[in-house]
């Protein structure tokens, strides 16, 4: 009952004209960002974060969260119409969405994607509303060793589950953490890692500099290189009558919807997993449990419902650990977390006590964002299709300009802009060699939390690292993290054994 009370208070905040306005604007921007190939929620949130200094923190976070949601809806539009995923979270939507569009049923796929997104989003926010306060209450007892153990878990998830090259993933995490250490040492106050005595390093490396460099400049360079050919767009015929017919067929897939939403939500909670693996897993499960799995990949409507319900559910899920534990569940929430720190909101369990209005306002705004996203998405499909025709040679320079001013605004130092360019170019070159970049962004956000937690824990324990294993809550978390770390090794051994058996 208490939760309902909080939630209704939250709605009063979320429905204030300014907040409602930014949510609607955020959803529209998000839909557009998601729909444009080469831009996903993480790019949008990173590039637009400096623009939100205009409004109060609560509205700013609502705006960014609405972009996150909108992008989850929007990603499906280009997956279906162009066959190119608008964002990595919508990769699985191309599997069946594109065949449907080629068959002339683009409208069916688009409606299914929008409604499945709404369903996944709403169901997951209900789960979120139920789980978050409970988790926050437990997390209140967390001390430094627990916090560090959680960080360890976040990084271990990347190493164990991402499937990227392991040494390159670890390298990416470490370099992000080292960059976060640049500036003044918080505990002794001494300057450290001031490269070549350049004064600009004294204020540290702002996480936005790395995030905008990688997701603005690096991403554009990457997209320019890989989208060499022209893409062809399918035609969509949309009438109210056809939507109603499609709805009937869609209702039959409700089981897939529920399953994918729940799966997506829990995958999203895992630190660092996020919406992309969530949607791919949901697609796999939907295919596995379907009565006619052979239709998947040829234009099966459940194949659109599953990933779309899951990616929205996962984006909500990834906000759960961010708000309750201060550990982001995806690269996008990592940037949101960094933003909250800029605004003086300390993410973590205290947030539910100290900033009740903010937390419940944000949760209520997620319900609102979902509602507006589905309405705007369906009503304005023709407009989004028209925007998809915008040539990349117009979009790219605008993104570069936004990156330039966005990189300058937070610290107002040209040093940071040059650094951003270096990160962008360096990130692009390293990405070509399969270095994953998201871990570095997560690490630079978490570094300033992880380092003091580690040092304090070691200090309390007199340098005895076993403190992370022997404490009742930190212990299990550390052990799970260690299991995740050795997981790839176990897989390697299993593969070897299999190979030997085959020989």
């Amino acid at each position: 009952m208490e939760i309902l009370q909080h939630l209704s208070d939250g709605f009063l905040i979320a429905l204030q004209p300014l907040n409602l306005g930014v949510v609607i604007l955020g959803v529209v921007v998000g839909l557009f960002i998601g729909a444009m190939p080469g831009l996903g929620s993480v790019n949008g949130v990173a590039i637009l974060l400096p623009m939100t200094f205009l409004v109060p923190p609560t509205a700013a976070i609502m705006f960014l969260a609405a972009i996150y949601y909108g992008a989850m809806y929007g990603g499906a539009i280009s997956s279906i119409m162009l066959g190119i995923p608008g964002a990595s979270t919508a990769v699985a939507t191309t599997f069946d969405g594109r065949p449907l569009a080629i068959k002339g049923q683009a409208d069916k796929a688009l409606t299914a994607a929008a409604l499945a997104s709404f369903f996944g989003g709403t169901l997951s926010i209900m789960l979120f509303t139920g789980f978050a306060p409970a988790l926050a209450t437990i997390a209140l007892d967390f001390g430094d060793p627990e916090i560090f153990a959680l960080m360890l878990l976040a990084f271990a998830t990347f190493i164990g589950l991402s499937g990227d090259d392991i040494p390159k993933t670890i390298f990416s995490i470490c370099i992000g953490l080292v960059f976060s250490a640049v500036g003044l040492d918080i505990m002794s106050g001494e300057p450290r890692l001031i490269f070549f005595d350049i004064i600009g390093f004294m204020h540290g490396i702002n996480f936005l500099v790395l995030a905008i460099g990688i997701y603005g400049i690096g991403e554009m360079l990457w997209t320019i290189e890989i989208t060499r050919g022209e893409s062809s767009m399918s035609k969509a015929v949309i009438t109210v009558e056809r939507i109603l017919v499609n709805l009937k067929e869609l209702l039959k897939t409700w089981k897939t919807g529920v399953m994918s939403s729940v799966l997506g939500f829990f995958v999203g909670i895992l630190p660092a997993a996020g919406a992309t693996p969530g949607s791919l897993m949901a697609y796999g499960v939907a295919k596995m449990t379907s009565r006619n799995p052979e239709d998947f990949g040829k234009g099966e409507i459940a194949g659109v419902v599953a990933p779309e319900a899951a990616n929205n559910a996962a984006s909500t899920g990834s906000m759960l650990p961010m708000l309750t534990l201060g550990i982001p569940g995806s690269p996008t929430t990592a940037i949101l977390l960094g933003g909250m720190v800029i605004w003086g909101l300390v993410p973590g369990p205290r947030l539910f006590i100290d900033e009740t209005e903010f937390v419940w306002g944000l949760i209520a705004s997620l319900y609102a964002a979902n509602f507006f996203a589905v309405v705007i998405n369906i009503l304005f499909i023709p407009l989004f299709l028209w925007m998809l025709k915008m040539p990349f040679t117009v979009l790219a320079p605008i993104i570069f300009v936004l990156s330039l001013v966005g990189g300058y605004a937070p610290t107002q130092d040209m040093h940071d802009v040059w650094l951003m360019l270096m990160f962008g170019v360096g990130g692009y070159l390293m990405r070509k060699l399969d270095y994953p970049l998201a871990p570095a962004v997560l690490a630079i956000v978490l570094g300033p939390i992880a380092e003091p937690a580690l040092r304090q824990s070691l200090l309390i324990a007199n340098g005895d690292a076993s403190v992370f294993v022997t404490r009742p809550i930190a212990g299990p978390i550390t052990i799970v993290a260690l299991v995740l770390l050795v997981l790839p090794l176990l897989k390697l051994i299993r593969d070897r054994v299999w190979k030997r058996k085959l020989l």
Binding site: L177, P397, V405
Partner: protein, 165 residues
């Protein structure tokens, strides 16, 4: 690709060593009653980076990672061309900020990109190239009170400051 992989690994290994050396300017060991020294965190992480680079190099020798097996060029002529034109353009834009400020550099970059790389009509080019700085000015300088650098063009903005700031 194969050569780029090992070159990057070696460069990053060198960078890791530099970071270790730089971290060691602060104490990296245990200080009684204070815990780990100020440089310890970054020192040991840099050491881990170095280990990763060695690991990547071993994978390279064993041809265990995709880039170390690939014979494709790291950048073909298309990619190199685009990289130089686009990356060079962005670098030039940032460099120009120091001289003519944001409001000189942004239109110049947009004209270069839209007209010469994108081959859009002059109408589209000028509409975006002139519209962008106006929007930027009202958003940053006026609404956010974040004064963007103007370089040598600063005097041109005095009348605008009088009106809007």
């Amino acid at each position: 690709m194969r050569r780029a992989e090992i070159v990057t690994a070696v460069l990053m290994a060198a960078f890791s060593i530099y970071l270790m050396w730089k971290s060691a300017e602060l104490p990296v060991g245990w200080i009684p009653d204070e815990g780990p020294g100020g440089g310890a965190f970054s020192f040991w992480l840099s050491a881990m980076m170095l280990v990763c680079c060695v690991w990547i190099a071993i994978n390279w020798v064993r041809r265990a990672s995709p880039p170390s097996r690939s014979d494709a060029p790291f950048m073909d002529s298309f990619a190199r061309n685009k990289f130089v034109l686009v990356g060079g353009g962005v670098t030039a834009m940032i460099g120009l900020v120091h001289f003519v400020g944001m409001y000189g550099a942004i239109p110049a970059f947009l004209v270069y990109y839209l007209r010469f790389l994108g081959r859009h009509s002059w109408l589209t080019t000028l509409a975006i190239a002139l519209g962008a700085p106006v929007v930027t000015f009202f958003f940053f300088d006026v609404a956010l009170r974040i004064v963007l650098p103007k370089g040598y063009l600063e005097p041109l903005f005095y009348p605008l400051y009088d009106i809007f700031l």
